[in-house]
Symmetry: C2
Subunit: 124 residues, 2 copies
DNA sequence: TCAATATCTCAATGAATGTTGAAACAGTGG
DNA sequence: CCACTGTTTCAACATTCATTGAGATATTGA
């Protein structure tokens, strides 16, 4: 997903808050199945109304998504959005300078070890 | 440069503001030689005091750096800091999920074309 | 339908952030 | 040393953001 500047601003703003950054981490760990709103709030030690506020914020910013599952609302990481943000940072913001891209490339190479790159085809 | 969570929060906060995001872009384009504070302010259409405020903010966040050069203060992008932020996003925040890393890897591959990867040795 | 559970919405409050203009400070050239 | 240029600092103000508690909404099981 290609991010434009306003979306990138929203995404950075969303990640610039401790509770929300932790929520993203928790949801990334949880993977595509995601977690119920209440569970996320508990994991980051936020009241239910505070959790709801921050989760909506993250969803508006395109970093997470939600689906209803009986009484619960399940939130999960939006990997496309997160990838888009990394891409924005590397490409638009940093103009593809090697000083930024090369370290990123080596992180990418690491993450593509068999341990992490399960079913996904790996280009590295 | 390895970023910890508080530094990453500061960096995201710094980039979540339009004027500052544009300043970073301008300074990245300018390269290591950098630009005088006044020139950056002019480029992003900010008053001198507003420019000074945002430049300090970016410097505190580790995204840019400054040096005095006669009467001017020259700001330049801190590529280590920017790379650290990309790395944080990929590694700590996204746990190295392939959904995020693979797109990043292809951006990195692009940026390592001869056009951009001048004197820097390229691992791609 | 009722009670219980899970979540969201709303309004109020205080804290943090951004903007402005005036004034201070530092370095340079005459 | 003085006037000038480039930049920062400061205080005041408006705006935005985060937290809270109370209440509204939706879903389920009895």
């Amino acid at each position: 997903m290609k991010l434009e500047e306003p979306q990138a601003l929203n995404a950075f703003g969303a990640l610039s808050q401790e509770t929300r950054l932790r929520m993203v981490r928790v949801l990334v760990q949880a993977g595509p199945e995601g977690m119920a709103a209440g569970a996320v709030g508990e994991a980051v030690d936020a009241s239910s109304s505070s959790a709801s506020f921050h989760l909506s914020h993250l969803e508006r910013a395109g970093l997470i998504q939600s689906r209803r599952e009986s009484r619960s609302i399940i939130y999960s990481a939006n990997f496309e959005g997160l990838a888009g943000l990394v891409e924005f940072l590397m490409r638009d913001c940093c103009s593809g300078h090697p000083e930024v891209c090369l370290p990123a490339a080596s992180v990418a190479a690491e993450c593509c070890t068999p341990a992490n790159a399960k079913e996904t085809a790996c280009a590295c």
